[in-house]
Amino acid sequence: MPMKKILTVIIVLLNISTLIWSNTNNETSVKVGYYENEVFQEGASPGAIKTGYSYEYYRKISEYTGWKYEYVYGSFGELYRMLLDGKIDLIAGLAYKPDRADIISYPDSAMGNETYSLVKHSSDSAITANYSTLNGKTIGVLNSAMVDVLQKFLISHNVKAQIKTFDDYDKLFQSFDSKQVDILAAEGDGAHERDNAEVLCAFGASEYFLCVSKNRSDLLEELNAAQTQLFTEEPNFISSLKAKYYPISVSSRAFSAAEKEWISSHSELKVGYLKSYLPYSDTDKNGNVNGVIKDLIPQIIERLGIADLSYSFQGYQSYDEMINAMLGGQVEVVFPVGGGLYYSEENGIYQSNPVASSSTELVFLSDSKVTEPKTFAINQNNKMQYYYVINNFPDCQIVYYPSIEECLHAVVTGKVDCTTINGLRNDILKNRHYHSLSIRQLKISDDRCFGIEIGNEGLLKLLNRGINVLGSEYTQNLSYRYSQLLYHYSFTDFLGDHLEIVIPLISLIILMILIFLIRDSKHSKIALNAAENANRAKTIFLNNMSHDIRTPMNAIVGFTELAQQNLDNKEQISDYLSKISVSSQHLLSLINDVLDMSRIESGSIAFEETVINLTSLIDELKTIIQPEVDKKQQTLIVDVSKIINQNIISDKLRINKILLNILSNAIKFTGNNGTISLSVSEHPREEQSNHNSIYEFRIKDNGIGISTDFQKIIFDSFTRERTSTVSGIQGTGLGMAITKNLVELFGGTITVHSIEGQGSEFIVMIPFKTSVLATGEKKSQVTDADFTGKRILIVEDIEMNQQLVTMILSAYGCEIDIACDGTVAVSKYKENPTGYYDLILMDIQMPQMNGYEATRQIRKFESGKRIHIPIFAMTANAFDEDKKKAKEAGMDGHIAKPIDSELLIRTLQENLK
């Protein structure tokens, strides 16, 4: 109560002759001067939660007076003046001084009292509890009522010490800390939160009061009456309030002579403990100590600062055995003991302060009709239980069992009415076979303590000190670590517990297994068939391929030999070489097909998207196939008039491949003088305004057609309607499979209509993104670009790259801002308003935060709050995987390094609107 001590209020005690207690129903509003003072009076501001000794006292007084408080906040000084001026009615915590009693009213009784203590430096061994050691020392004290008390104390103990007074606590403490004074006179234990201070002794006490303004004699009367009534009805109120807010901290006191004597004469502490008593104590399966005791002893030794003391444990099966071992000198302390003080004395032991204060539970059969239990099952190895029961149920009949489990079993089977169990041990009842038991908490708790032989005062005090240092919650908290060992939940327990779920579940599982078995046998048949078909197809393919490969290879080998034989004949050689070349080309295309197919099947194909002008793509195709068409004197009709958007964004090579595969088949399977037509039309998608159209390619011929059966499998791998031997037409049987796979990768469809002998029509529908940009006049488009007024954030750690991009973009009118890594980029984005930046170019690898993470954070921040800002990765990593990662991070696209300035500008054109 540091603040209160500053108060030295002098007052005359009022003679209150008559107390008139008028119990009115009207609430009296009372103005309370409420100042902040740690522990004593907290929460001195509007709306703050009020706590503290004084607050509880105010509340209690209100219960007797009916007062309704109006709190006035301020410093103590301010409030004290207000009390003198009559502006407030009450103020708490004032000490009594006779010479000021005429300006403030004191009630008859104090609201509390406090002890004054002498505190020394813990390092100072010259001063002991022997008062003569105080002679010649300097004692610092606050200039207050305490001075008188101290002087009286010193005189009565015949001590001549120098008293030095201080005007406030700060100065006093400073002077103690700097060792200008040897001893500190303080309120309470005075040493709390001072590591190097030890309380030497108490030298007096003082009362403090709830004081009333002189103007309010009515309140004073009510207060006096209330205090009298409070004392009559709740005599322990003040002491329990004091215990709650100002517990004695024994820890700060110096070791007593007995403690010191014990420490100096012992190098080891031998601890005996009771087995099978978790969470308190037990022996684990390796024979080592287990439970709370295992942690408690080292903790106490450490906290007492006597680390030189070693310790050992010895477990005992029964309580009596354990106590006897101590009395016989085998161990010096035992744990736990309990059951009441009387039996401790009978056993010749001291009980320490409670290590754990816990309830005792009465355990009985849930549906038992017994109201007054008569027979108790007692664990014969646990005398604590016996003591407790005969103490509290003197008339009961006791039946012994060798363990708590057997006691519980006796209750379950109805052999006895009940048993008891320690509150921290009741997890044992979670075991399944005790589910029929109920518990009821008994009124009298049974503490678990250390047991020490009577006379061993030093150890008792040390252990008490240790228990206080650790605090009352320590064991409680620790016990949960061990109490789970008290029950074992097996799988069969689980099944038994959940029968109502388990039985239907098991039935369901069996049913599912049956269904799966039946289905599986069907499936496996289907799968087997499919595998067989695939296998057969592969075999056929390999046969065909061997043939197809052997044919050009034979040609190559044969013509090479012929060429060697005719080395002189230039014309001949030239002819052979051109034949070799044709065969090689064919072989190459075969190999390419196989590779393409395997790439598609393994999913490792990647698209290179560029802007393509469809008309010119088809013109190019026409140029490629025209020689073949001409060779067979076929007619090729191309119609591109129904294309609206010429420019699409897609993978040019793959589109070529699709169309070429179908077209060359058409040429291959159409006779001389036949007609082949390719028409392209565009169907804009209405719902997709952002440049997305479906393009339809129709390739029609009047060739040999395809049988209805083969139409069904034409797009499967390794299929050919006729082998090349039969048809005279070479092929791999992969062309259409590749085509179909590619079309599907583009998100499109391919269908075929054909009548044998009349011709075929292939219809390919693919959605493409359309582009407003022309491909042909790139240069002029780029030069036309103007991004004046657009602000772009470049996120890039390398200065050279920053400058390059800045220069290019500035040339097109962009405003540029630069962030040197991801964290800067994110904060720049966040601190500027939405729309401040029009686009972000983001490097990927950067120190602090990479581009992926920066993008993720921007997207997260943006979500729901801001409009989508385009973010483009700018990196030398241009693998598909990197592009995928960029997409996943929330980026809109990818611009490769080295920078293609045209591509960069075009990307901006498409994304800056």
């Binding site: 750690d797 390398i798 200065e799 050279m800 790259n801 400058q803 390059l804 220069m807 290019i808 040339a811 490097d843 690898q845 990196t875 030398a876 990593n877 390094k897 080295p898 920078i899 300035s901």
Partner: protein, 111 residues
């Protein structure tokens, strides 16, 4: 002094580089000067020495971007090789390749 002619003689793809800089010669030369003095070259050496291939990859990759943007031809190719080896954390003696890179870089720097 770094000049266009000197760069051409060292096999730098000056045309591409210049085009990237919108044909601003002075600016291009300034960027080359800046890029070639980039500290990532030294950091790459250190990380390779420490066999910290993860970090070395980052360094090498950054330099790949620099050399690529500047169209530094042979230097770019060498850095690409190194980057790919490091991407797969190939256990090999990187000293010769790194020395080649530094040699090439010094040729440009000390022009």
């Amino acid at each position: 002094m770094i000049t266009i002619e000197g760069l051409k003689a060292l096999g730098v793809d000056v045309e591409t580089g210049l085009a990237r800089c919108l044909d601003k010669e002075e600016f291009y030369l300034k960027l080359i000067d800046m890029g070639i003095k980039d500290s990532h070259f030294e950091q790459l050496g250190k990380t390779l020495e420490n066999k910290d291939y993860t970090e070395a990859f980052e360094q090498s990759h950054a330099l790949k971007g620099v050399a690529g943007n500047l169209a530094l031809g042979e230097l770019y190719d060498l850095i690409c090789q190194l980057t790919e080896l490091l991407r797969n954390k190939t256990e090999t003696d990187y000293a010769p390749l790194y020395n080649q890179i530094i040699e090439m870089r010094n040729k440009i720097k000390d022009m």
